[in-house]
């Protein structure tokens, strides 16, 4: 531009930086209706959304029955209009959904466990709250032990509560929490094992991972519950819930291993060499340099596994452990609340709980990902 005709050019005046031109006007609205095709698509989308949203809102709120004491209050014949969700059913069964048949006089122990967990988890999740290390040790180390003694009892004067009577959301949370906090370390160890230079470690890890990935969770649960006792000596009675927990942890660990392995493979060789050249041994190299980077890369995969695990816990229903969904189905059988809408109400309620937890995990993971990538823009 400077040298159209001349062959040389020397700048005399400095061009000062200017603010960028004003942002282009929001084009969203324009795009929605530019041309007949886009207009048609937009209208179609609106129709679909309304067609889905309206019945939902109508069922959950407008036509819903909010008070009552039995099925009669939720029957359209008695109410005299179309009936939506039967919320009194949820209210009546709420304790059962939350605690299963955990003795009513002892349910405070479950609440205390939840409260403890929340008190430890919330500061752990909020960046910037100090003492993260101590907090993590308390949450991942002390809390599970404490929760175990609180829930099971038999010590400190707490009456023993058999896991047979546990149920509802309590079981769902126990299984998924145990699965989540044990499957990640197990997965990390397996992933490291699979990439190990020691042939025995590598082979063992590969066999373990491929075995557990090769069998369906239902098979694992069936085996743990009904077959395993046949192989074990008579006096080796392992608690039914504990067997399921172990099965779930091993199963989830194998999946987690592959997720973590993906992250490990994405770390350039130079990072390993840089760490080695400084004299960091294998474990320090992995723990301080490689894993912190690898795990950050696979946060989406890890959270994906966590969410899948959280929802997979519903499968324990088939081995007669009644988690949230199990209690729900048990409650459907209660003739006191047998109405045409009971089923939908129950599933809507359970669906909301599962959705809130899963969506929460997913959003939190997104938030962390963004935060970590801002910290060190690559």
């Amino acid at each position: 531009m400077a040298a159209d005709a001349q062959s040389s050019y020397i700048r005399r005046a400095v061009v000062e930086p200017e603010p960028p031109p004003a942002a282009a006007p929001a084009r969203t609205r324009a795009r929605l209706f530019d041309g007949p095709f886009n207009t048609a698509l937009t209208l179609l989308s609106i129709v679909i959304v309304v067609a889905l949203a309206w019945p939902t809102v109508k069922f959950l709120f407008i036509d819903a029955v909010w008070t009552g004491s039995s099925r009669l209050d939720c029957l359209s014949e008695t109410v005299g209009r179309e009936v939506g969700a039967c919320w009194p059913f949820i209210k009546a069964k709420f304790t059962q959904f939350m605690y299963g048949f955990y003795p009513a006089s002892q349910q405070w122990r479950v609440d205390v466990t939840y409260a403890l967990g929340a008190i430890l988890l919330v500061p752990l999740l909020i960046p910037g709250v100090p003492w993260k290390g101590l907090n993590a040790i308390l949450f991942f180390g002390a809390f599970p032990l404490l929760a175990f003694f609180l829930l099971v009892g038999g010590v400190f004067g707490l009456p023993h509560v058999e896991t047979r009577v546990w149920g509802g959301l309590l079981v769902t949370l126990v299984i998924s929490f145990t699965g989540i906090i044990f499957s990640l370390p197990l997965g990390i160890l397996l992933a490291l094992g699979r990439r190990s230079h020691l042939p025995i470690v590598r082979t063992a890890s590969v066999i373990f991972i491929e075995f557990w990935r090769g069998v369906p969770l239902i098979t694992v649960l069936f085996f743990a519950t009904y077959m395993l006792p046949l192989f074990l000596p008579e006096d080796w009675r392992i608690d039914a819930l504990a067997r399921v927990l172990i099965g779930v942890v091993l199963f989830a660990g194998a999946y987690m291993a592959e997720v973590v392995r993906g992250g490990l493979q994405a770390i350039p060789r130079g990072q390993f060499e840089g760490a080695m050249a400084l004299g960091l041994g294998y474990w320090r190299m992995m723990g301080l340099v490689i894993l912190p980077q690898a795990l950050r890369l696979v946060i989406p995969g890890i959270v994906n596994s966590f969410i899948a695990l959280f929802k997979d816990t519903t499968l324990v229903l088939i081995v007669a452990i009644f988690d949230l969904l199990g209690q729900l189905r048990a409650a459907f059988a209660d003739p006191t609340w047998a109405t045409p809408v009971t089923l939908f109400t129950g599933f809507a309620f359970a669906g909301m709980i599962y959705f809130v937890v899963s969506f929460g995990m997913s959003r939190y993971a997104l938030f962390m990902e963004r935060r970590l990538s801002i910290e060190r823009s690559h």
């Binding site: 050249a277 400084l278 004299g279 960091l280 980077q293 060190r376 690559h378």
Partner: protein, 273 residues
């Protein structure tokens, strides 16, 4: 400030108590820092290093050059056993490198390495990059490790970048951080693997200046580089490596003005324009 480091498990002074009997034996000058005896290495069927014999004295600066694929980097990486080999011996600072992992990590602590691609840890700040190994390998208290790190960051002239992440720095700055990181372990020997090859031309000088400073301080250095100006300025000896063999070893003046081997003449004619 840095003199006080001696107390910390690290013996810099000749009279200080040494960490092991092996290290005790070397304390005088004019002593061998690195000895490579009949080193042979294969990558699969490819014979990448052939009968390498090389002795580097303490305080000596060796510049290794040669065509790409000649085995320069591989040779350098054998010195701290980031690569292993099939035949031959490497003795660093009186300690022979064997399969023993403990010895290897000990030697790596004594040998700093600077890579072509910097290999800084992107998830750690500049300061954390520098203090990681002193804290975890040398078991140094954090405060002291940070003091040393700041000293060396000042030395490579980027003290103000301590709290940034590597990705926020220019290539030249990153490489200088990498040098500071290696120096924080207070190594006896520094290895440089083409430290300026990945840099924009404008940033080469700042890195070379840092290395010249190190050389003037008497650091034992083995440098793989094609920066012939730098080589002339600091090298005690030049080594030309081609096809996995040492073709010629000579003092820089003779190496550049009267190369003996045909291969050296050809190489020099191709890189010096």
């Amino acid at each position: 400030m840095v003199e006080s480091l001696g107390k910390n498990g690290r013996k810099r002074t000749p009279n200080g108590p040494a960490r092991s009997a092996v290290l005790d034996m070397r304390t005088t000058k004019n002593e061998v820092a690195i000895e490579i005896i009949d080193l042979n290495k294969w990558f699969g069927a490819f014979h990448v290093l052939r009968d390498i014999d090389l002795k580097v004295m303490r305080g000596e600066r060796i510049v290794v050059c040669g065509p790409s694929g000649g085995g320069k980097s591989t040779l350098l990486r054998c010195i701290n056993r980031i690569e292993d080999w099939q035949r031959g011996r490497v003795i660093v600072d009186g300690t022979e490198l064997t399969e023993d992992l403990k010895t290897i990590d000990e030697v790596r602590g004594e040998v700093g390495m600077v890579f072509q691609q910097f290999n800084l840890f992107p998830h750690l700040t500049v300061l954390e990059n520098c203090t990681l190994a002193p804290i975890w390998v040398r078991k140094m208290p954090k405060v002291e490790a940070e003091e040393i790190a700041r000293h060396y960051l000042k030395r490579v002239r980027i003290p103000e970048q301590a709290d940034k992440y590597p990705a926020q720095l220019s290539g030249g700055q990153q490489q200088r951080v990498a040098i500071a990181r290696a120096l924080c372990m207070q190594p006896k020997i520094m290895l440089f693997d083409e430290p300026t090859s990945a840099l924009d031309p404008e940033m080469v000088k700042e890195v070379l200046d840092t290395m010249v400073g190190l050389a003037l301080d008497g650091m034992t250095m083995v440098v793989v580089s094609h920066e012939m100006g730098f080589a002339r300025q600091v090298a005690n000896r030049m080594v030309l490596l081609d096809d996995g063999q040492i073709v010629e070893v000579n003092e820089p003046a003779a190496f550049f003005s009267h190369p003996q081997h045909e291969r050296t003449k050809l190489f020099l004619s191709q890189i010096i324009r």
